[in-house]
């Protein structure tokens, strides 16, 4: 009996230890962002100080600097603007396509769906060089519209994939009944299928928006002026003046920008995962 008891304690200790170690390893950089954001420069840049403690009073200077002396707010606005427009375009393209592939085209729809999913695997790092010429040809260099044009290349395929699964779970009989009652197929789609798919559509909205905020390569390639940056490029590139890193402001910016995104993503995580697992989990 005592042996069994001690082995249970052991397994609890190991359990807690494993979780604690991984949590610290994974979350530490964000904890460090918090610490750095509120430390005075004298404290940050004195090597004798213990960096884990506040050796001088905490300060809001970095946040003030960030919001008043830099274009940070502008970048947040740019990101929100591009995000909203890309979400709208993605919905317009992906919702009808996913419905049509899930319902109307049978076996063919299945294959086309998989083909579209495969385009999600074509990475920005393969396309940014030719696309930079396309953007130049269209005269969209250094314009947010370049990003709006290009971002749906990675949001549309995955959204179609997510929504296809969603529409397939709606019983066909529902639309048949509506069509018997006098609605056209398209009418049934607009008036019946879309309203009951709100949660699936919301998943796509959040997923698309977070993908836009996380993008880096296209924004780096197409956008050059400071005031047109997105958060992903503006913070690491334009908060550095010459060789001088404003670490306090940098870390504050990372924190302010990433926490809301992380929070949104977290709420819808299980749905995204079911999209990634491609039916490998029942």
């Amino acid at each position: 009996m005592p042996r069994k008891f001690s082995s249970r304690i052991w397994s609890r200790v190991v359990h807690i230890l494993v979780i604690a170690v991984f949590t610290v390893l994974l979350a530490f950089p964000f904890y460090w962002m918090v610490i750095t954001s509120f430390k005075q420069n004298v404290d940050l840049y004195t090597m004798e100080n213990n960096p884990f403690l506040f050796n001088a009073k905490p300060t809001l200077d970095h946040l003030k600097f960030l919001f008043t002396q830099t274009q940070f707010v502008r970048w947040l606005g740019n990101t929100a603007f591009v995000g909203v427009v890309v979400v709208a375009i993605t919905l317009l393209l992906a919702v009808p396509a996913a419905y049509s592939l899930a319902r109307l085209s049978g076996r063919w729809g299945e294959r086309l769906g998989i083909a579209i999913f495969l385009t999600y695997l074509v990475p920005p790092t393969l396309l940014f060089i030719p696309l930079s010429r396309v953007i130049a040809f269209l005269g969209l260099q250094d314009s947010l519209w370049a990003l709006i044009l290009v971002y749906p290349t990675f949001t549309v395929p995955f959204s179609i994939w997510l929504l296809m699964g969603f529409f397939k779970s709606i019983p066909k009989e529902l639309e048949d009944a509506a069509m018997v009652d006098g609605l056209t197929r398209f009418g049934a789609f607009v008036k019946l299928v879309i309203p009951i798919s709100v949660s699936g559509i919301l998943t796509v909205v959040i997923f698309t928006f977070t993908l836009v905020t996380q993008e880096f390569v296209y924004a780096l390639t197409f956008i050059s002026s400071e005031s047109n940056q997105m958060i992903g490029t503006g913070i690491p590139i334009f908060l550095v003046r010459g060789d001088v890193y404003y670490w306090g402001a940098l870390m504050a910016a990372c924190l302010v920008a990433s926490l809301p995104i992380a929070f949104m993503y977290n709420l819808f995580l299980d749905r995204f995962i079911s999209g990634f697992t491609v039916g490998a989990v029942k």
Binding site: M47, L93, A97, L101, P236, V278, G279
Partner: protein, 304 residues
Amino acid sequence: MAIASGKVKSIGAAQSPLLGAAMFSPAVLYILLLVAGPFFLAIFYAFSDARIGNTEMHFVGLENFRSILHSPSFRIAIRNSLIFTICSQILVIVGANILAIALEKPFRGRGFIRFLILLPWVAPIALGAIGWKWLLDSIYSVISWVLVALHFYKPFNAPMWLGEPHLAIASVLLVHSWRLMPFSTVILLAGRTAIPKDIPEAAAVDGAGFWRTQFQIVMPMMRPILSVAVLFGLIFTFTDMTVVYILTAGGPFDSTQTLPSLAFALGIQGSDLAAGAAISLFLVPLLVIIAYFMLRVAHRAEVT
């Protein structure tokens, strides 16, 4: 009334193929124009001498590939791309399996812990990477401070994490693994929760210990989901350029360049579109292999 509704239904059915095509063709057209089109343009550039700011270009055959294959930077880039992709995947799969087992058991505060663990994946990677750049700073690195405090190094003598080639490679590898670990963990966790509880329990009743249950019963059932985690993980790391660009910009002396970051350095910053395009095309073989396996997983899931 009955006639009218019957008529509407038959019209709806007759229109279906056309309506279907009308509904998916905008998306397909968009993808053809902005994914397939640029892809072929990249191939076209790779066989030309296209440069930024020069409207003329000529067909040069395999010239770009020949000069790339002779360049030491390219060989380093392809080696690094493979090292980062494969080594980070090994670390991630081992870590993520352990973490998924630990997270499967309910405990108080699991939701909050899950949020913390997910941060590296859900926060924009450019911002996570800049956080690491601060942690690995040449002077004020907190990691160096701890190592000095523990007397591993003398003060001011700690290594330059991003300044020495081998350490820089290790740092980039570490950040890639850090970024990917949460993603693989939640995928594996989804796979674990989908296994009916009575199967491992029955094994335990039959006398199988924890490790035997894990390796002989749970792991085989997890194979499809494990391959999904690995395939996506390989793609995310292999095609990523953000981590390297922010941490080291390929330096010191091109020692941490990867295929994507070298393509950017030559093709965009160096204006040599042709060379950049040719380098990025070296991503394609692995992507095709991964796509093939992805299709096999999807197909198997469909059949069973």
